[in-house]
Point group: C2
């Protein structure tokens, strides 16, 4: 299990990232981002845009989405522990004022909160399927999307490669099993070239999602056996626990079934996506090449325009 | 009360914006954004960046921030009805699995949610003050920030100029009363020039924040009397109810007091900010010039590079 023939001193550099690029906001895994960090995230986004699939439609989503849509997608069954719901103070003026009074008195006021019809979007592709469903049958040539979103997963951590709030970019394919598998396989190769161009030591691995609980272990095993998920991992914290910076996912007909996505003949379509963890890629760049982009290898700087 | 010597047919164009630029996500005031819309938002962001105050530090915040920090800022006292909190399923595997079981049984499961230590950020400048506080005394020349954030306010609406989730950019000044007032006054003029350059009919108005409830009316009145808030409004829905697209706010020593922000002599500093509603500006551009940027006036296209 080796990436590149050089020893990277990880920990000091990660401290540097936290000290010079991101700033604590008082909650683990939630960071204010400085100018250098943001410029690299934007440059990576631009690079990925240049690889956007032909005929793809661009959509950008806000950080919240319909709770009902996410429930229907099955998220709650698989990752209930990671979900962030939006809760608000409901009721009339007297009730809301009562909650504020409890806050002023130093009493627990959050019990007055009630769930709204919104959740924090946990992955950039969830909102696209109901939108596609509302448009009617999937054309024979399939559909391709370029989506992006600030995502949230309830995983408080001091690890620099695990944010609670992070940016995800995805290319999504919707069509026949052959179409979406061809899309995913092509992207496994393309992504490896992009990582090489960025000077990132990396490898592709069969992977599984962090399904919840003991029952989830069976789902994860099945996902691995069917090679439904691959990840492109980069040594960020260490070579032994490399960080997934991109993933390549075949959902079979899961979203087709949930949203009744059908082709012209009435058959359920399949979906696949390639996901780019924008913040993880940025952190990987700084961990690999150092915190000052001016000192990065010339081909990498030229590629990114930084 | 007139903006420009021309009658705009508002409603049909707003329908067009919803139909051709943004897409419903099933919840009022939450929209997927298409490519044309996003390009305009990015072009407006670039224009605003070119006006960034000298010596300003750029920070970008995720859409969530510390609940404790927002509570301390006084937000709950003024706008409790607009707050969105992050709630999650807490507890061990058995408890979380129980909530999922209730969902599967079609029973109300959201009662199992509990407030996390995060809220959805309601304005882009809230996170900056605790960060500044942690850095020590404010230098005599003052501090200036360029901040941006996806913001959330619980105001479900079918109005095209009122999103629940929207993007806000702010320039923030922290220093002596004279410094921050000079900053705000200069920006009132500068913003008007920017709006003119964008071809937006507009005017500056004394304004107040939407303080909650009956008690809030007194706070709003006091805010108007002290001219603490101005808004640059543009006719988007109608000329009679124009839309605030930028605001110019003098907080006096409110945030200084809350976060103990002091200068070298130990005196509390004052703060001011100019805020740009990025989505409102974009909607105003489409409402004013039409949904196809290629047909916008040449000087406007040149200014934005669209």
């Amino acid at each position: 299990m080796s990436f590149a023939a050089r020893a990277i001193e990880f920990s000091p550099r990660l401290d540097l990232i936290e000290e010079s690029l991101c700033e604590s906001m008082g909650v683990d895994g939630v960071y204010a981002r400085g100018e250098t960090y943001e410029r690299v995230v934007m440059a990576l986004a631009g690079l990925i845009s240049r690889h956007r699939p032909e005929r793809s439609e661009m959509l950008r989503f806000p950080p919240v989405m319909s709770r009902m849509a996410l429930e229907r997608s099955g998220y709650l069954m698989s990752f209930p522990n990671l979900l962030g719901c939006v809760s608000c103070l409901h009721g009339d003026e007297r009730e809301i004022r009562g909650a504020v009074q409890r806050f002023e008195d130093g009493d627990p006021w959050v019990e007055a909160l009630g769930a709204a019809d919104l959740v924090l979007t946990p992955a950039a592709c969830y909102p696209v399927y109901p939108i596609v469903a509302a448009r009617g049958p999937i054309p024979g040539a399939g559909l391709f999307f370029d989506v992006g979103c600030d995502c949230f997963r309830r995983e408080p951590s001091r690890d620099i490669d695990r944010f609670q709030s992070f940016r995800m970019r995805e290319f999504v394919a919707i069509g026949s099993p052959d179409q979406v598998m061809a899309f995913r396989e092509a992207w496994k190769g393309r992504a490896s070239v992009i990582a090489s161009d960025l000077g990132l030591p990396h490898r592709l691995e069969v992977a599984s999602d962090p399904f919840f609980g003991r029952g989830g272990q069976i789902m994860a095993l099945s996902q691995v056996e069917q090679t439904l998920k691959f990840e492109l991992v980069v040594p960020v914290k260490s070579e032994d626990s490399p960080t997934a910076c991109m993933s390549f996912n075949y959902h079979q007909d899961h979203f087709g079934e949930v949203w009744k996505l059908k082709d012209g003949a009435g058959d359920l379509v399949h979906t696949a996506c390639v996901a780019f963890g924008m913040d993880r890629l940025a952190v990987a760049m700084f961990a690999t090449h150092g915190v000052d982009p001016r000192a990065w290898p010339t081909p990498v700087r030229r590629l990114l325009g930084v």
